[in-house]
């Protein structure tokens, strides 16, 4: 019997029952996204900047062995001790040994996720009962005092309100701390000052280790790492192996990349560069110690995995959790073990094991937004799909996932038996049955199936185009074939009117995205291979590939090449694949449009950008086409997902419909509260259409249904 994720579902339900915390979190992640976007916009070439970060990280990971050797040599030449720890236990043993030899009873720490990863504080205190370990970063100190794990990579205590923090420090200090930010700060300063002045050993992490000089770089806004690395006579740095890079030229780029992505600032307030100990109070540097512990803990193994090694490129900025739609609702204690958020899934799998990662991996809804925001362009969604695959292989697949992965087979059957199938699907009895036994949410409106599919109609609508300006093969998705073939007919007609010859291949299969979402990568690969082989033949004959569903184009351009190890055929197809309106624009026909039929006087059209379209054009061609047809268009967005996420929102309960609607709510509110009122929403995604129909008061229309070609322009 497959695992049912009951513990995860329970945690999601609890999170959804706390709307106040949810609001705080949503404001926090939105602020993170907005600040990053604004700061990036001030750079001369943001894309080039992002590209350079990816290059630095990729080449450093490729050369990790050489860089490790160089860093070790340089660091030792500087008079420091370097220790390569295979796992957390070796780190703990090393520091305990040091603490015992030097009679250390008080250790101060600055924020370090690497030490969180190995639960260093807990193990140190277990290993030496008279030892106190005090976190000095405010957020870390708060969660240490309440014995919790980080809620967010950058803001570990973001879930605590000001009044809760005041109470925590009231309890910790024994003094009544008022619910006032300045008063809390004064109390924290006073509370931690003795620790700063009296600790015998200070532990910091490192954001970067620079091989060419054997230096470490620690970034803090509070300035606590400066104190931790200056006052105690023993300074221990615990640094993940993947943080070592080659040169200062690279390091100075990375120190900007961290805060831009994490907090939307150009540089962290204090960037401390430590190369060797300095003298203090008459004690020479030779009598003060610097120990650099380089942690492996699964990183070497990660490097061997062609998909997961990209995770080592992570610069720990937390941007992926600011973009993740489900993280933004449930937070890091549900969406995380120690490492939270999207990147936390592959990292947890590698350093804490599959079971821990599988506990929250289903929260990834494959929207792809984490990849879009990641400063190192890490393909986090595909890494997560790999973790899900391992989970499915070990624990089995959930029933609704099995059914929804095969939605093309069901669509074929439902279409062949329509309208009977529609009656069955819509009936209360069968919806209750589907809800109870198949896990398909009964509240969700399901689309109608048409017997006369686009495929069946194609022969009759295909027109000869003399001297075509180009030839395309239409990569038809489920919706345009089985649910809304009239949309497909219109898509074909419009292209033909514009002088484009259109082909359809009945051999092509739908994109297979659900297989990726639910971790069935072998099947996804099989479909990718099948479709790419067919499409590559067309491409070779001079055809372009066009799709009306953004997810279909996303698969052609990104998912298929990844699944097929960037094979030549997959890359050829990717290069020749286009969104529908992008293609119209390229062929110069997006200017020859007029408003179409029934919706000619609708006021402003609200535009929704589906997540997968953000990796493509973000809808710019579609918006321009609608505008050229004479519409006023306004993009309404929260910057994240509508919550439907393919078939995720069709599933029953907290790991489906409930979470899906909670993710969508802020967007529903924006559409519903827009003034003057928005009556029509245009979007190209069939599943977003379902979600916004269920969540808003607006009418949903595919942009194709809003336009027609000007008669005078017909070719």
């Amino acid at each position: 019997m497959p695992k049912d994720y009951s513990s995860l579902k329970k945690k999601i339900t609890t999170a959804l029952e706390n709307p106040e915390r949810g609001k705080t979190l949503l404001v926090a992640v939105k602020r993170g996204r907005d600040a990053r976007r604004d700061q990036l916009a001030t750079l001369e070439n943001p894309e080039q900047f992002r590209e350079s970060i990816k290059e630095i990280k990729t080449s450093s990971i490729e050369n990790m062995d050489a860089l490790l050797a160089k860093f070790t040599k340089k660091c030792e030449q500087n008079g420091n001790k370097v220790f390569l720890a295979r796992d957390g236990k070796e780190v703990v043993d090393y520091i305990l040994d040091l603490a015992n030899k030097k009679n250390v009873t008080l250790i101060e720490k600055s924020k370090s996720l690497t030490t969180e990863e190995i639960e260093l504080n807990h193990h140190l205190q277990q290993g030496k009962k008279d030892l106190a370990v005090v976190e000095t970063d405010l957020g870390e100190r708060i969660i240490q005092l309440v014995n919790e794990k980080p809620y967010h990579l950058v803001f570990p205590a973001i879930h605590k309100t000001q009044s809760e923090v005041a109470e925590i420090f009231t309890k910790a200090t024994g003094n009544q701390i008022p619910n006032d930010l300045t008063a809390i700060m004064d109390a924290v300063r006073k509370h931690l000052r003795p620790t700063f002045l009296n600790s015998q050993l200070g532990i910091t992490g490192a954001n970067i280790a620079v091989a060419e000089t054997g230096s470490i770089v620690v970034e803090t806004n509070e300035g606590n790492a400066r104190l931790v690395s200056a006052v105690p006579d023993i300074h221990v740095v615990v640094v993940g192996m993947e943080k070592i890079i080659g040169t200062w030229e690279e390091a100075l780029k990375l120190v900007m990349a961290h805060p831009i992505s994490a907090t939307g600032t150009r540089l962290t307030n204090y960037v401390s560069i430590v190369t060797e100990r300095l003298p203090l109070g008459g004690l020479s540097k030779e009598n003060r110690e610097l120990h650099v512990i380089i942690l492996d803990n699964g990183r070497s193994k990660m490097r061997e995995d062609p998909w997961l090694k990209e995770g080592l490129n992570c610069i720990r900025c937390g941007a992926c959790m600011n973009a993740c739609p489900t993280y933004g609702v449930v937070g890091g204690h549900v969406f995380g073990y120690i490492y939270p958020g999207p990147i936390g899934i592959p990292w947890t799998e590698e350093v804490h094991g599959l079971d821990k990662a599988a506990e929250f991996a289903p929260l990834c809804i494959s929207c792809g937004l984490c990849k879009e925001i990641c400063p190192a362009e890490i393909d986090i969604p595909m890494m997560i799909a790999k973790v899900k695959e391992e989970d499915v292989e070990k624990n089995g697949q959930l029933t609704p996932n099995k059914i929804l992965s095969r939605s093309d087979d069901f669509a074929k059957l439902a279409s062949a038996t329509a309208p009977l199938s529609n009656w069955v699907i819509q009936s209360r009895v069968s919806r209750s049955f589907m809800d109870r036994f198949l896990g398909i949410e009964k509240k969700r409106k399901l689309p109608e199936f048409k017997r006369k599919t686009l495929e069946k109609q194609f022969k009759s609508i295909k027109e000869p185009v003399p001297n075509p300006k180009s030839k395309i093969v239409y990569f038809v998705d489920i919706a345009a074939n089985y649910n809304e073939p009239e949309l497909g007919v219109k898509a074909v007609g419009l292209l033909q009117q514009s002088g484009v010859e259109v082909e359809l291949s009945s051999k092509l299969r739908p994109s297979g995205m659900p297989y990726i979402s639910y971790g069935e990568l072998k099947k996804a690969k099989e479909i990718a291979e099948w479709n790419v082989n067919i499409l590559a033949d067309y491409v070779e004959k001079g055809y372009d590939v066009v799709a009306t569903e953004p997810t279909a184009v996303y698969c052609l351009k990104f998912a298929y090449p990844k699944l097929l190890d960037n094979s030549k055929k997959s890359l050829d197809v990717a290069r020749k694949s286009f969104e529908y309106f992008e293609y119209l624009t390229l062929k110069g026909d997006s200017q020859n449009l007029k408003k179409s039929g029934k919706i000619s006087d609708s006021g402003t059209i609200g535009f929704h950008i589906p997540c997968h379209q953000r990796a493509l054009s973000s809808g710019k061609f579609t918006i321009a086409a609608l505008q050229s047809a004479g519409y006023q268009v306004k993009v309404i967005e929260t910057g994240t997902c509508c919550g439907m996420a393919g078939t995720f929102g069709l599933k029953k309960g907290p790991l489906g419909y409930d979470l899906s609607m909670a993710v969508g709510k802020p967007l529903f509110d924006l559409f519903n509260d827009e003034s003057p009122a928005i009556k029509i929403i245009a979007t190209e995604s069939s599943v977003c259409t379902t979600q916004l129909e269920d969540g808003t008061k607006c009418e949903l229309v595919h942009p194709l249904n809003l336009i027609a070609v000007n008669d005078s322009q017909k070719k």
């Binding site: 803001f155 600032t265 307030n269 401390s272």
Partner: protein, 194 residues
């Protein structure tokens, strides 16, 4: 490296000032080392609430002449005393005065180069940090520091400093993402620009 950035130098100074000010730092232009010393003394008086200490390395290059203004700074605790017994001197210390070695326009940052931890603590443990910076040492881009890093940290010499980029007062947004100044480090950072 510095020469190459002089052509639009005033622009960089302006950018540095604007960014540093936005980050809650305060800039005071000074026409000469003497004026700088008097501004620092005024700040010790007006902003300080306790003891003050000035590092001994405030060497300023002005009109081709090197002047050390450390002695002109009227701090209450001598740097010698601090070096001898920092753990005793630090608790009541309120104001720390140091020299900033560089300024970076694109990030609004000053660069502190310290060869001792007493020096580093003047800008990290105090409530008020005052730094003196020569205008000519403001660089356009952070990347221009690459050769400086190699010169200071890559040599085979036996003294390698700790280097800190400082972007203004200590801050945190850990509580409800509300930005607040002065957690562990300085509440105030003043830069006197000569």
């Amino acid at each position: 490296m510095i020469e190459s950035s002089l052509s639009s130098h005033d622009q960089f100074v302006q950018e540095f000032t604007s960014r540093f000010t936005k980050q809650a730092g305060v800039i005071y232009p000074a026409k000469s080392p003497e004026v700088a010393a008097s501004i620092v003394n005024g700040l010790i008086k007006s902003r300080g609430k306790g003891e003050s200490c000035c590092s001994n390395d405030l060497e300023i290059s002005y009109n081709g002449i090197q002047t050390n203004i450390s002695d002109a700074i009227k701090a209450t605790v001598s740097y010698d005393a601090l070096q001898k017994n920092p753990r005793q001197v630090y608790p009541p210390l309120d104001v720390g005065i140091t020299k900033a070695d560089y300024g970076i326009a694109e990030t609004g940052t000053i660069v502190d180069v310290s060869y001792s931890d007493e020096h580093r603590l003047l800008s990290s443990l105090t409530r008020v940090h005052i730094a003196v910076l020569e205008k000519e040492r403001i660089l356009e881009k952070l990347s221009m520091l690459t050769p400086v890093m190699m010169e200071l940290l890559g040599s085979s010499g036996d003294r390698k400093p700790s280097i800190t980029f400082i972007g203004g007062p200590s801050r945190t947004s850990d509580i409800e993402l509300k930005s607040v100044l002065g957690v562990h480090g300085p509440h105030e950072v003043h830069v006197v620009l000569i």
